[in-house]
């Protein structure tokens, strides 16, 4: 009586060995089939866990639709007037049918293009839907060149470029009456006639004559590690283990039943 049978006191002859019996019962076709099923379910769960893991390392903004920032889409399809630029729209290549407003040009200082610091010529577009849109036309190494380019900066028709969020006006040096931030709220104060406004601005893909192209690279998508999905992945692994355990438990129940331990339906 070396076996621990203290909780089964009333079984007349304690089973010689449940474990020894287990192997014989488990080898029956019925339980082998059940094991195959359990392994299949476990594999399915593991697969789901892997999928969760792949979902947990996701690029923000690509979850809803597989939107590619490098394929130009109409601005009206990604942005709404009078609303901020959301993550999925950030850096999107867009096309817009608009005309520039003469006289609403201004020059921003301290604009880096690559390593060189210089000036941006910025303007006021009005789309065919009568919505204002700030536009960065091009870069120049000095203020004079940027201001001179105004004369040949008339824009109209279908314009293409990248849609970026407005910068904070705080970057501007007001005391020196220098404007260096591409701040839409600041710009609209200078435009005499404004209706609805897009929250972001357009960086023209092709500059107007006399200016250099503003370097505007493909946005680096923020890679986020979604902890919730990691937890779910762990959960699936546990479920997979549990499927195998359940098989073991059911076979053991069958063994115990044969050895005189009844189960009830």
């Amino acid at each position: 009586m070396t076996e621990l049978t203290h909780d089964e006191p009333s079984i007349p002859a304690p089973p010689r060995s449940v474990a020894g019996h287990f192997g014989r019962v488990a080898r029956r076709p019925r339980w082998i089939a059940a094991l195959v099923l359990a392994l299949g379910i476990a594999a399915g769960f593991a697969g789901l866990g892997q999928w969760q893991l792949s979902r947990s390392i996701d690029t923000v903004g690509r979850t809803d639709a597989a939107r590619d920032t490098e394929v130009a889409v109409p601005l009206t399809s990604v942005a709404h007037p009078d609303s901020p630029v959301l993550q999925p729209q950030l850096g999107q290549r867009v096309t817009v049918d608009a005309t520039s407003v003469p006289g609403d040009w201004s020059v921003l200082s301290d604009r880096n293009n690559g390593t060189a610091s210089g000036y941006w010529l910025v303007g006021h577009l009005v789309t065919d839907d009568k919505v204002s849109l700030a536009v960065a036309v091009g870069w120049a190494p000095d203020r004079a060149t940027a201001e001179k380019a105004e004369a040949s900066a008339e824009l109209s028709g279908t314009l293409s470029g990248r849609y970026l969020p407005s910068e904070s006006p705080i970057q501007s040096n007001f005391e020196a009456s220098q404007q260096s931030a591409m701040a839409v709220p600041e710009l609209i104060n200078e435009w005499p006639k404004v209706g609805s406004v897009y929250g972001g601005y357009l960086v023209l893909a092709q500059p107007t004559p006399g200016l250099e192209k503003i370097i505007s690279p493909e946005p680096v998508r923020e890679v986020s590690f979604n902890l919730l999905n990691v937890f779910y992945a762990i959960e699936w692994v546990l479920f997979a283990g549990f499927a195998i355990y359940l098989w073991y438990r059911i076979v053991r129940d069958a063994v115990e039943k044969e050895l005189g331990e009844p189960t009830v339906d």
Binding site: S10, P88, E235, E261, V264, D265
Partner: protein
């Protein structure tokens, strides 16, 4: 051979109590989940909490800035169901009923309204089983 194994009645009753609460909670969240699914896949709307459109609002999927209650519902139900399954498992082990019954009870967290039925049916079944086992014990003792 008679059922000679005494059931651990106090422990079963304790588990049963937790099971009932879990069945009710899981059932409620399952109904909320159904509403959420209809909104998301039928109307392409998510439930937004504390967003720009008020404390509770229905917002187009993917345009939420507040807390996405739809996702919260989804995960809370998920975890409640894990708890429900755990309790189902405990009852199965303690009462030694069939694996089929275990699976049927498990459906309670997936089929809407079913857990509300089980919330009453399972305790009735469990009490019957405990009574049976105790009666069998008495017979054995007196024999």
């Amino acid at each position: 051979m008679p059922n000679t194994r005494a059931l651990d009645a106090p422990r079963i009753r304790a588990v049963l109590k937790v099971y009932r609460v879990s069945a009710m909670l899981t059932g409620v969240f399952l109904l909320a989940l159904v509403v959420m699914m209809v909104l998301r896949y039928g109307f392409h709307l998510d439930i937004e909490f504390n967003g720009p459109f008020g404390v509770l609002a229905l917002t187009q999927v993917g345009h939420l800035t507040g807390v996405n209650l739809s996702v919260v519902l989804l995960s809370v139900h998920g975890w409640l169901y894990v708890l429900y399954l755990g309790l189902d498992f405990l009852l199965w082990r303690l009462l030694r009923f069939s694996f089929g019954r275990f699976l049927v009870i498990a459906l309670g967290g997936i089929v809407p309204f079913l857990s509300f039925v089980f919330e009453f049916q399972v305790p009735r079944y469990v009490h019957t089983r405990i009574a049976e086992a105790e009666a069998a014990q008495r017979v054995e003792v007196s024999a």
